[in-house]
Symmetry: C2
Subunit: 209 residues, 2 copies
């Protein structure tokens, strides 16, 4: 025990959450790690260890109460309270994220969207009015957004990140291929399509031999 954090565990939690919500919807009241494991094709022992970290506890023989488990995981992730975010870069990926309705169930709300291109400023993308970059500092102060979503082209990444940091953002979700430089108290999370594709490429290649 004692460990409060463990990256692989944290990354697996949303998968459990997704399945648990489905089960809940189907009216299932309790669930065992054995069952979850077979559904998710993971070792049950991994799930038990992972769930320990969320503070949830089950009963021998019957397992876990589905609703409790959902609550424990969401609490652990901080997804039961809404976190406001703003998005910078309304290109392909940025627009897709603006239109993604699933964020609500992760407690994430995109309150403002910005773009450097005058052609995009003033347009409405999935219900979000695109604002010019120079409005960013003002808006962050008013809105108190905690997270920034970075979806600009690679060559604009560092500059946009600097702007976010100056505005007082706590964490940056970075969708660019650039490793951005930020002060040590700002958290950055790189969402790397290229890494995923690299892994897939090599695994397919190995399978072919």
């Amino acid at each position: 025990m004692a460990k409060v954090s463990n990256v692989p565990t944290i990354r697996r939690l949303p998968g459990y959450l997704h399945l648990l919500k489905e089960l809940k919807e189907e009216g299932q009241e309790t669930v065992s790690t054995t069952f979850l494991a077979s559904e998710m094709q993971i070792d049950p022992i991994v799930i038990r260890k992972d769930l320990t970290m969320t503070g949830a506890s089950g009963k021998p023989r019957t397992g876990f109460v589905v609703a409790d488990l959902v609550e424990a995981i969401e609490n652990f992730l901080g997804w039961r309270t809404t976190t406001d975010a703003f998005l910078v870069g309304a290109g392909n990926i940025g627009s897709a994220l603006l239109g993604y309705s699933g964020f609500a169930s992760y407690g994430l709300r995109i309150v403002d969207a910005f773009d450097a291109s005058p052609a995009k400023v003033g347009t409405i993308v999935h219900g979000h009015l695109i604002l010019p970059m120079d409005k960013l500092p003002d808006r962050v102060a008013t809105v108190k957004a905690r997270l920034g979503i970075l979806t600009v082209p690679a060559d604009a990444a560092q500059e946009a990140a600097d702007l976010m940091v100056a505005a007082g953002i706590l964490g940056i979700w970075n969708f660019t291929p650039v490793k951005i430089k930020v002060p040590s108290d700002v958290v950055t999370q790189k969402e790397d399509l290229a890494s995923g594709l690299a892994e897939l490429s090599v695994r397919v290649k190995l399978r072919e031999l």
Copy 2:
């Protein structure tokens, strides 16, 4: 040595590649792991180990030839030859991927796009004509696509994956929150936004304490 694979290493390679291509464009001929490390904010020893896996070799004092290193990494990832893929689900994320021009440098070419919705079939998204699902088997046979990109809603994920598998796809890049079930010889790679956000959420929360 003997190790030919190591997931964390594979996932770091595209980051090096991105930086190396920038350096190459700036006309830099050689580079040391010390320099790469300071740019990427990683320990140099990690980079040296990682590069060993690609088969690249450098010279003491001068380092690695940038162009050679780019080639070695691309070869290792299989990104020097074009891999054809088809995409299923032309919603928000699917459309964004269809419009993403960066795939070319990863050797990935999306040759066909499909959608179940009659409203979308026949429309053109970023230059791609959207085809109906029932055309999928024919097209795969003709086109010999090796990878499938899965960007349908969660409740359509398994069915679409089954269709891909039946068509003879080797690997599935899964952008849905569902853990899809496939035969053991088909590789699946889950690209999980929720996992990334979970990690970011917890890290920001910890930083606040």
